[in-house]
């Protein structure tokens, strides 16, 4: 089967960059920067409509906003009603952190996650946004959110909004310092789903919530399976089980199972990739030992294989953030990660070999492909 051309959408702390590739994924043409100087937390193409791209932006010290393109990234317009909490709510939106297109059959629908914790929806391709009352005004939200003074310096993020492709009423969300939550009624009510997940930073050994997922993904080919990279390890859950299994225990001890992103294979439910970070002592959050590598499991987490061919062999202290590792749907699958030091790395063969396809970019926050 002939592969389609791939485009990589890169969000950085100083703007957005779009790399258009050909079907061989060997040649890349840069389009950008767009929004130079603005923090671009997430730049997301619409898988349902090639003309639609949404951007979660924060221009310096001004309030957060959201831009959208209806012509494939040629021109941009600000949302006329960006995500904002309703009157009387104790919080205000500081950042739009993640964007999630709705299900295939719900064209125009988008979801947004914010800092502090909040979920917002749009049904007009991101022009106007409504607060999801079922979460944002849930009576338990103040407890799920935690104490603001105990929050991470950049505010706790709503980083994962996960839709079940079989059922528009079934969704999950992942919150830093909050945990994973599930809704079975389209977001009207939510329940914690954190059993089995370690919490090493709390006096309570097995709390119902207050966990720190970094990235939660549903498997597109088996939506009963979710993978999670957490502050305290790598996990898998196979629904209807209510308990996460720590598959990161099978990672090499000297590497550990700390990191930020996790990438499921687009068609093989047993395959997923992580990019480990040093989570020892004061949490350097750099490649362990200065030797960067992805790790892949081909058996749902029973074993992991190191993938470092083409990456620097030493003194490379890369950091890869939770939204900065992604894949395409070509055969073999292409993988792409961006570093906070502004390098963009790609593999055309499922991680067997890596090459740096761009450097000298600003701090990379996110990567998506179409």
């Amino acid at each position: 089967m002939k592969n389609k051309p791939v485009t990589i959408y890169v969000g950085t702390r100083k703007g957005a960059f779009i790399y258009r590739g050909d079907a061989t994924r060997k040649k890349w043409t840069l389009n950008g920067p767009h929004f130079l100087g603005q923090v671009i937390n997430h730049l997301v193409p619409d898988p349902r409509d090639p003309k639609v791209v949404l951007v979660a932006a924060k221009p310096g010290h001004l309030g957060p906003s959201l831009f959208r393109s209806l012509d494939g990234g040629k021109t941009w317009k600000e949302a006329t009603k960006p995500p904002a909490f309703p009157q009387g709510h104790p919080d205000s939106v500081k950042q739009v952190f993640c964007l999630q297109p709705g299900l295939r059959e719900r064209k125009g629908e988008w979801w947004a996650g914010t800092a502090p914790h909040g979920i917002f929806t749009s049904t007009d391709n991101g022009d106007t946004w409504e607060s999801l009352k079922g979460f944002n005004e849930h009576p338990m939200r103040p407890k799920w959110r935690g104490e603001p003074e105990n929050s991470p310096p950049d505010d706790p993020n709503t980083h994962s909004i996960v839709l079940d492709p079989r059922d528009p009423k079934h969704l999950y969300a992942g919150f830093s310092i909050g945990g994973v939550f599930e809704s079975r009624d389209g977001g009207a009510d939510w329940k914690p789903l954190n059993k089995g997940v370690a919490v090493t930073f709390s006096p309570e050994p097995d709390p119902e919530y207050g966990h720190d997922p970094h990235c939660v993904k549903i498997h597109p080919a088996n939506p009963d399976r979710l993978y999670q990279q957490n502050h305290c390890g790598i996990y898998r859950i196979d629904r209807p089980s209510e308990t996460w299994e720590r598959i990161g225990r099978n990672m090499p001890k000297e590497i550990g199972d700390i990191g930020f992103p996790i990438v499921p294979h687009p068609s093989d439910p047993d395959t997923a990739w992580v990019f480990p970070m040093d989570g020892t002592e004061v949490w350097p959050r750099t490649s362990p030992g200065g030797r960067p590598a992805a790790y892949v499991t081909r058996n749902a987490g029973k074993t992991w294989k190191r993938q470092d061919k083409g990456l620097p062999k030493s003194q490379a202290w890369l950091t890869v953030k939770r939204q900065a590792f992604t894949c395409d749907t070509a055969d073999p699958v292409g993988l792409y990660f961006g570093t906070t030091s502004g390098e963009l790395w790609a593999s055309r063969n499922e991680g067997e070999k890596w090459e740096c396809i761009a450097a000298h970019l600003p701090h990379i926050c996110s990567m998506e492909t179409r």
């Binding site: 221009p59 010290h61 001004l62 309030g63 006329t80 960006p82 909490f85 309703p86 205000s92 939106v93």
Partner: protein, 87 residues
């Protein structure tokens, strides 16, 4: 009409004008009018609950004000100042 000095980060809203004019007897009403003339500008400096964003300062005739209830006259001069940062 009141003269409003707009910082560079907001110039994309004001068609790249550093100085604009707007009507309003209070800072809040002045901002409403500014937002009508330059859609989207208000939310960048005031949050959804009408609170001045922590990294924004308003000056009326050279005096800093922390409230949008501040009375403004047509002859007054308003400065919007955005925080600076390095790196």
């Amino acid at each position: 009409m009141t003269v409003v000095h707009v910082p560079a980060p907001l110039h994309s809203y004001t068609k790249h004008c550093a100085e604009v004019q707007a009507d309003g007897s209070t800072l809040a009403l002045l901002l409403d009018d500014l937002d009508r003339r330059y859609p989207g500008l208000r939310f960048r400096v005031v949050d959804e609950h009408g609170r001045i964003r922590p990294t924004i300062l308003f000056y009326v005739n050279g005096q800093v004000t922390r409230t949008l209830d501040q009375v403004v006259a047509a002859a007054d001069e308003v400065h919007i100042i955005a925080a600076l940062s390095g790196g």
